[in-house]
């Protein structure tokens, strides 16, 4: 944490400059910002009292919560198949509720919000904490109500309650179980449990892959910096790119798909989120793709997808209650069933195809202190020559 503060000054300088330039451009572009129709409700979300039960009082059902009525709009960096079931279920549950969702690439959404002056959406539902932290750093998120903050362990949310995780997943090692004979491994059990070896072990040369442009990969790199230091992380990225000649993918799905396909030019091993493999297996249980996990290092980082409330919302009460619904039992379970994700509310048990978190042994990582400077991780990846 200490050394984070040292580069805060340079970042602060950059950001002030950004704000100044953005401000003058706003002036240039027109004084119309204030002329838009203003039906925004500016009651801070943090001050909105629960309509019914507080969500931190254990595993609640939707019946225990207040009714949702009105229109809520969401920027989603998650894809419809991951998330729309929850929104649909809520719309079915409440006749007066309309959920409008804009689906786009997670990073595009964040950049779009950063370019906006006023935001047409109430919430950002993001894949990763880094993106939500970037939004917070830019001052576009507002604090969540106390009971929402208290419902989720501190390590799965922002330290000052500016965003909260809703579900979790881990980084994994994916491999094609039919292609053992093409590797120098005698058994898949030999796959290292230390992520560092994936960059140094020559047996991975030419058959390994990753996806450097994703938020989770940046998060993973940042986690490695925290645990191993910048020098070792740089070395890891460089070896991965140069020595191992890792195949780089634009999308996590493409990567998992190619591993599964098993053509001569396709990678046999891949570093990625476990649920990409889970989805393929869901489509076809005989598919050769399998996952394994490293032990207690950045390679099996547990991370969350979560929500942040933007600074102006249509109806504060509705938005606050909506977030409570995501953390209630039905919300958590829908995302377990649909997506193989882990719940973040402790009283709710994980049931699903993946090993339990205890078995995986992810690193103790405080995501709230995970002040992920995406630019820094991005620069590091890029400077070491890894881009697709």
């Amino acid at each position: 944490m200490q050394q984070r503060n040292s580069d805060l000054t340079s970042r602060f300088g950059r950001r002030t400059f950004l704000a100044a330039a953005g401000g003058s451009a706003a002036g240039l572009a027109g004084l119309a910002g204030c002329l838009g129709d203003d039906n925004n409700d500016n009651t801070p979300i943090a001050e909105v009292e629960p309509m019914s039960e507080r969500v931190d009082s254990g595993a609640l059902s939707w019946d225990d919560l207040g009714d949702l009525e009105g229109e809520i709009s969401i920027y989603s960096g998650r894809t419809p198949d991951q998330i729309s079931a929850v929104f649909d279920a809520l719309e079915d549950e409440y006749d007066g509720l309309t959920v409008s969702v804009d689906y786009d690439d997670n990073d595009v959404q964040v950049n779009q919000i950063l370019e906006e002056e006023t935001h047409p959406a109430d919430l950002m539902y993001s894949q990763d904490p880094g993106a939500l932290n970037a939004l917070h750093d830019d001052g576009v998120l507002q604090q969540l109500p106390d009971d929402v903050i208290d419902a989720v362990p501190g390590s799965y949310q922002h330290s000052d309650g500016y965003w909260t995780g809703v579900t979790g997943r881990t980084r994994s090692i994916q491999y094609n179980s039919d292609r053992l004979d093409e590797t120098d491994f005698d058994d898949w059990d030999e796959l290292p449990t230390d992520i560092m070896e994936y960059a140094t072990d020559e047996r991975f040369e030419g058959i390994i892959s990753t996806r450097p442009n994703s938020g989770t990969f940046r998060g993973f790199v940042q986690a490695m910096v925290e645990r191993k230091g910048e020098e070792e992380t740089r070395e890891w990225v460089r070896q991965m790119a140069d020595d191992q000649d890792a195949q780089l993918f634009e999308g996590g799905s493409d990567q998992a798909n190619d591993i599964n396909r098993g053509g001569d030019d396709d990678p046999i091993i891949g570093l990625g989120n476990s649920y990409y493999a889970a989805r393929i297996l869901n489509e076809d249980s005989d598919a050769p793709i399998r996952t394994t996990f490293t032990e207690n290092d950045a390679g099996c980082l547990f991370s969350v997808a979560g929500v942040g409330v933007l600074d102006q919302v249509g109806d504060s009460e509705l938005v606050a209650e909506f977030v409570r619904h995501l953390l209630a039992e039905e919300g958590q379970e829908l995302m377990m069933d649909d997506n193989g994700e882990y719940p973040v509310v402790e009283d709710i048990e994980y049931v699903g195809p993946l090993p339990d978190l205890d078995e995986i042994n992810p690193p103790e990582f405080d995501l709230s202190g995970f002040d992920m400077d995406l630019q820094e991780a991005g620069d590091l990846i890029e400077e070491e020559g890894m881009f697709a």
Partner: protein
């Protein structure tokens, strides 16, 4: 009707002439003003690039510009643009000659086959080709024959060429159909061989047409994101996207400015090649046709193979994914007719607005051919060459501040974005039809005392209407398949065919991409038929 003496009596005539001249000045000024407004409007999003680019520290900006990395991107992008342009001409011009000037059997069928690839988004082509070829692809799994994977820069060049050469085909064909072929006959009478007649007579006349199509193909190639990204080619668009999503928007802006600088050079070069002095006026397409004899078999075979690659492969792949789909249903990707309606509605609006915007610019540039008119016309091309994600972010920034009530609420900001991207397709086609309107026809109308505007409405407009319709259809087709801008600026919650394809493809639920993809091809295909039918009406 005035008496003849009225025209001869100068003392009476002079004030009239003076009045008319004033009127002319005023309407010309209005036309220049309108063109300038359109040009400024469509390049206004580039303002954002400067706002963002100046945020890069000068030393770092310089370092980035001169880095070997940027050098490679530049070289790759120029190779991509250059080779795609060259290959598009190589494919498009012979196909145009084949369908317009020879006695090939079933000319309409081959015209359709040659033009249709334009309706297929190149990223769909890329997905299909990668799914078809390469080890582990469909051909490999069905026949056990491994065909080299199509990827990287060569792969991108192949795919983009296959789906953009119709720009050259269509513009060249239009030029062939409208040129005065009696000159060719004259040349043949003077003992020139068919090849020499083509080189010395036909080619100079259709050169502006070829250049116009080649320009569109080249600019499309350098602005296409989906294909190079899918194929893993390191070019401006994929790098700009990487920088944008990696929170390096300032660098992305800087790269986009570099891209625009290259495009500006291309526009100037093309302006030199595509000059209109040599272009002939309309003269009807009848006259000499080239007899193919037994050459008609290889000719038909060539078009068939091309059509199989560009049309049948993607349709077959998507149909296969549709039919042999398995796995749990994913309700999130269920097709709804509303998505198709949204796509068509947006594309129609974009086509309408683009043709309204194109009229003053194309008319002024077609009639005046001054430096100013050329600059205004060329300015409308810039948006076509800039990657959609850049235009998208620019309009997020500007639209959100300047027109907050339009931002993501109605469709108008999105429609404007489409116009910024696709206006040159309308300007180009309208302009070439303006060029073919004989000055004398308009002068005749003016002599009959029609006002400037009335002459335009009653004489010029009907004459250039085919060009306006053709331009609108091109805008319609490209809007239907546009992706990044649609995702970024559509009203929240509005889905279209491409947003469904994108979402389904992203989640590997290919079977859900099949119906919207096939429907997209069908609707765009029908509009292409309208385009060709209308052109057919002109000749017969």
């Amino acid at each position: 009707m005035k008496s003849l003496t009225n025209y001869l009596d100068l003392s009476q005539q002079l004030p009239l002439i003076r009045k008319r001249l004033r009127e002319t000045d005023r309407s010309t000024a209005a036309l220049v003003l309108l063109s300038a407004i359109v040009a400024l409007l469509v390049i206004s999003p580039m303002l954002w690039l400067f706002v963002r680019a100046v945020e890069v520290e000068p030393a770092r900006a310089y370092g980035l510009i001169v880095s070997p990395d940027t050098g490679w991107i530049t070289v790759n992008s120029i190779i991509l643009m250059g080779v795609v342009t060259f290959c598009s001409i190589l494919l498009g011009v012979p196909l145009a000659v084949l369908t317009a000037r020879t006695d090939i059997p079933y000319p309409r069928l081959w015209t359709i086959v040659a033009a249709l690839p334009l309706v297929i988004p190149s990223y769909i082509g890329a997905i299909a080709f990668v799914g078809m070829f390469g080890s582990g692809g469909e051909i490999d799994s069905v026949f056990g024959v491994s065909i080299p994977t199509i990827d990287g820069l060569p792969g991108s060049i192949l795919i983009i060429t296959l789906y953009t050469y119709p720009y050259v085909f269509l513009t060249t064909r239009a030029a062939l159909l409208s040129m005065d072929s009696s000159v060719v006959d004259a040349a043949r009478t003077l003992n020139a061989g068919p090849f020499e007649a083509f080189r010395r007579v036909t080619f100079p006349q259709i050169r502006p047409g070829i250049a116009a199509g080649a320009l569109l193909a080249g600019l499309y190639a350098i602005s296409d994101f989906g294909t190079p990204a899918f194929m893993g080619a390191n070019v401006f668009t994929s790098r700009i996207y990487w920088e944008t999503t990696g929170f390096g928007r300032e660098y992305a802006a800087l790269l986009a400015l570099q891209l625009i600088a290259i495009v500006a050079v291309v526009l100037v070069i093309e302006a030199g090649i595509g000059r209109d002095e040599d272009a002939g006026n309309s003269g009807g397409g009848e006259g000499s046709t080239i007899r193919l004899g037994n050459w008609k078999w290889p000719a038909m075979g060539f078009v068939s193979v091309l059509g199989t690659l560009t049309l049948i492969v993607p349709v077959a792949i998507f149909s296969r994914w549709l039919i042999y789909s398995e796995g749990d249903p994913i309700p999130a990707y269920e097709f709804q007719w509303e998505f198709a309606f949204n796509s068509v509605y947006l594309a129609l609006l974009a086509a309408l607005v683009a043709s309204l915007f194109a009229l003053p610019v194309a008319y002024y540039s077609g009639r005046a051919n001054s430096l100013l008119s050329r600059i205004l016309e060329r300015a409308t091309y810039v948006g076509f060459a800039v990657p959609g994600v850049v235009i998208g972010l620019a309009l997020v920034f500007l639209g959100n501040r300047a027109l907050p009530s339009l931002y993501r609420q109605g469709v108008w900001l999105l429609v404007f974005a489409y116009v910024v991207r696709f206006l040159p397709q309308a300007v180009g086609t309208v302009r070439s039809s303006v060029l073919q309107v004989d000055d004398k026809t308009i002068e005749a109308a003016r002599t009959l005392n029609a006002g400037r505007f009335e002459a335009f409405r009653r004489v010029t407009l009907p004459l250039i209407m085919p060009g306006v319709v053709a331009g609108s259809i091109l805008v319609f087709l490209t809007t239907m398949k546009e992706l990044p801008v649609t995702l970024m600026l559509r009203p929240i919650g509005m889905e279209t065919l491409v947003s469904l394809i994108w979402n389904a493809q992203d989640a590997l639920a290919y079977r859900y991409a099949a119906i919207p993809a096939l429907l997209l091809i069908l609707i765009s295909g029908l509009s292409m038929l309208v385009l060709l039918r209308q052109e057919g009406g002109e000749i017969s």
